[in-house]
Amino acid sequence: KRSVVLVDGVRTPFLTSGSDYQNLLSHDLQRYALQGLLQRTALPVSEVDHVVVGTVIQDVNTSNIAREAALSAGFSKHTPCHTVTMACISSNMAVTTGACQIAAGQSDVVVAGGVDTMSDVPIRLSRGMRKSLLAANKKKTTSGKLSTILSGLRYFGLELPAISEFSTNETMGHSGDRLAATFGISRRDQDEYASRSHNLAHQAAEKGKLQDVLTVFAPGRSKPVTLDNGIRPSTPEQMSKLKPAFVKPHGTITAANASFLTDGASAALLMSEEKALSLGYTPKAYLKDFVYVSLDPKDQLLLGPAYATPLLLDRSGLTPKDIDVFEYHEAFAGQILANLQAMDSDWFAQEYMKRSSKLGRLPLEKFNTWGGSLSIGHPFGATGVRLVTTAANRLLDEDGSLAVVAACAAGGQGHALLLERYPK
């Protein structure tokens, strides 16, 4: 098995849906991220062996968005590209897919990315209408076509992409609220955590820590886009005024302590260690190990990190004390706190994780110190690469050695990844 390194990672600014990216489609955003990566790393396109992109809301015209975005970004047309999907951990899957290809010797250089936009979503006609339109298409005469369409009009209706879990019909916010209640996470705790996320993100942005953010020149706009626009530092007191969003009236998740609908894209450059050195790069970190977990989508939808973290650490004989940087995806403040509680509970460890004892409390001072998905935003497919890049950048900035990235995802799945800072 060859060593896999992260050379660098970039991302477009993450914007709230319906703002400055509203005229762009997901392949546009991914193109910007890929172009940005090429420019940032000055990588000749002929060196890229493979491109893999993760995304959730698919545009049918660009179902292999990796290919379409890479082609239009100027990558070589002789570079194979494919697209993966795993809900919120789609680009994590892109990263690990690339890493596996490199480790197994199939590729030396892989570009892994991710993108999602909620400013434009596929809205379909109802099934009945689609059927009648397709039937009309097959009719030879105009009158035949017309009569088929007219008879199909009674099925008129629109289908929007579902926001609820396919197997349980429950929205993620609703599940998250139940999770918070299950672990006794109060509204106050959640608002405080959310406030922390926004404040830290704001500070990190001000201090210029968020090095991965690109400048995007979008056509027809008067200014380039340079900053994430969802970061809003507020106090828990201000947040306490909001009403619960998913479980009314006694719920705890509100718009303030939940991640928001975001548009954005990210891309990372992975190589085998030898290739990186031979091309003259100094890698940022090794991608050492990773795990995926899969849980009950009804009652454990968002507990992925709680299961994945101990599994990952066990594989390398590590404990939380050995880890310097934690970068976890923040779907909801309540979800983060519930996962932390679950990892700190002997009862949960023994009953559900089949472990002899709990992992312990992850140290908050090492946790998401540059903000997280709650404040920076969560374009579903793009977050994974952002977490990996941020973890590597934090290792360099904070002079750490080991980092753990983890995330939960719709479908009840989860992921954790171990990074090791590349020696100086």
């Binding site: 019909n169 139940r178 454990q300 519930a338 509680q341 949960f348 559900y352």
Partner: protein, 522 residues
């Protein structure tokens, strides 16, 4: 006492999880606010009518005022179970609380604690004024309020509602069950004459019904059914996980469907692709019907179907714990099937026959493992008819019987276990009745009158219709067979071949026959 709750100056909140039926429901009705968990176990209702009684702790007075007369009549007269979501829609509960998953304690404990927390919070808010009690008065200005007030409080519309309800009750019961009629009387008294008269009528009515022979009979059926939920052979050493059903006809498909719904892996085998496909489609339609009624989601239907393996061969039969044959009532075919099955299954596999009249011992005659052969007589439609008649021979082992009863109970059936005598139990008691029915027809009674009189006596389905439903030819064969077995004990039979128009429902026959409940021995 419930009145004291209602009158209390302090807000009283009912926190409901699990069963809230009958008296429990009536206590909850006396509270000012009701919260229920959206849990599959949570069920509300007033089933007293099923025991020939009425909701005697204020239910008949409080329920119409809360949810309106039409819905109150629906609940009281049918005794139906109401799930949490429906209860919220009806206005029976005011707020729903979601069940929680596993956390720092088991989900069961967590649910109760969460419910309590929310309920206490609500009670506090009610006391402080932060939350105001939903007005139980409805306005006349919106559609729902208008409907409520007209049907419950406006005399003429109310009378119409009672009239319609009465019509339905008479159609279903022929006036033979006093309880639904008394319930309507008592509700009416309360709405027309006020609470004092209403409560008085309710307690009088309860006392009267309690003494009635109908109530005694219904109560005994209830206890009998509960008794039948026990497996008197004990738990099987190795409960079944995989079943195979032979024959995808109406019975076979029904057996497959109820087994899948309860989580069994099922192999459905039939003779050729067309028959197999028909069987599969029947199972699909059965499950899809539940989806349409919203008893199941699309996903659950597909997930349930993934437990089904339709096939033409015996692949995987070595893993089967029980094979239920539902093929044609032909002894040679059954022998052929039994031999083929035994060759393909493991030694522990039980062979159950869904025959309605062929003696199990005769079927088992060609078996290498007669101790594993048992009869499992289902009734059509399998997904709706609760009775399952299990027939054991003197060779059937206790373990086999235990397994068969266990499967039947898991399928949600009311199980009776009987000896392998001719006609077993159900056919044996039906045959003389049908024979007498034919005799009456011979003596000149018209089928329509026969139906009329037998329904007036109390049978939910007229005897002539029943004979038609069973099938005159089938009945003839069975009668012949029983005649041979029992000889002179059975009345000599001539059969008219009549054909009657119309399709009738084959309902409640088993309830009727089962009312003669004490002969359930083996």
């Amino acid at each position: 006492m419930i009145q004291r709750l209602e009158d209390s100056g302090k807000p009283v909140v009912a926190a409901i999880h699990g069963s809230c039926l009958g008296g429990g429901m009536e206590v909850a009705l006396g509270c000012h606010y009701r919260i229920a968990t959206r849990h599959p176990k949570t069920v509300l209702g007033v089933p007293e009518v099923m025991l020939g009684l009425l909701p005697g702790a204020g239910g008949t007075q409080r329920l119409p005022k809360l949810i309106g007369l039409p819905d109150a009549l629906d609940l009281c007269l049918t005794g139906k179970n109401v799930r949490a979501d429906k209860a919220k829609k009806l206005g029976l509960v005011d707020m729903l609380v979601d069940p929680l998953g596993p956390g720092l304690k088991s989900p069961e404990e967590g649910n109760i604690e969460y419910l309590e927390d929310v309920a206490v919070g609500v009670a506090r808010n009610l006391a402080s004024g932060a939350l105001s009690l939903p007005t139980r008065e409805r306005k006349w200005t919106n559609m729902k309020g208008l409907q409520f007030n007209l049907t419950t409080h406006q005399r003429h519309v109310r009378n119409y509602v009672f009239g319609q309800a009465r019509k339905k009750v008479m159609k279903m019961t022929n006036g033979l069950y006093p309880s639904p009629l008394k319930i309507m009387e008592v509700i009416r008294a309360g709405l027309e004459k006020g609470p004092v008269e209403g409560y008085e009528a309710e307690s009088q009515g309860f006392a009267e019904l309690g003494m009635s022979s109908e109530s005694k009979a219904l109560r005994s059926i209830f206890f009998g059914q509960n008794e039948c939920k026990k497996n008197r052979f004990g738990k099987p050493a190795k409960p079944a996980e995989t079943l195979a059903v032979l024959g995808g006809g109406l019975m076979g498909a029904g057996i497959v469907q109820v087994s899948l719904q309860k989580g069994y892996r099922v192999v459905l085998k039939d003779m050729d692709e067309i028959a197999l496909n028909r069987g599969y489609q029947r199972v699909y339609e059965g499950l899809n019907g539940r989806v349409k009624k919203r008893a199941m989601t699309n996903f659950e239907r597909d997930h349930t179907l993934s437990l089904l393996s339709p096939q033409l061969d015996h692949k995987g039969f070595e893993k089967a714990d029980m094979v239920i044959e539902a093929v044609f009532e032909d002894i040679d075919l059954k022998h052929k099937v039994l031999r083929a099955t035994e060759a393909a299954t493991a030694d522990h596999c039980v062979f159950a026959s869904n025959t309605s009249a062929l003696p199990i011992a005769k079927i088992a005659a060609v078996s290498k493992r007669p101790e594993k052969v048992v009869g499992m007589h289902y009734f059509s439609p399998v997904d709706k008819m609760p009775l399952l008649e299990i027939i054991t021979t003197d060779k059937t082992s206790k373990e086999t019987a235990a397994l068969a009863v266990d499967v039947g109970l898991k399928q949600g059936k009311t199980v009776i276990v009987v000896k392998d005598s001719p006609g077993f139990y159900t056919t044996r008691i039906l045959a003389p009745m049908l024979a007498e029915c034919v005799r009456l027809l011979q003596e000149g009674l018209s089928p329509q009158n026969l139906d009329k009189f037998s329904k007036a006596f109390g049978f939910p389905v007229g005897m002539a219709t029943l004979a038609d439903e069973v099938g005159i030819d089938v009945a003839y064969h069975v009668a012949q067979f029983l005649l041979n077995e029992f000889g002179v004990r059975l009345v000599n039979v001539y059969m008219y071949i009549h054909s009657w128009e119309g399709a009738y429902q084959f309902m409640h026959l088993m309830y009727c026959t089962f009312g003669v409940s004490e002969c359930l021995t083996w």
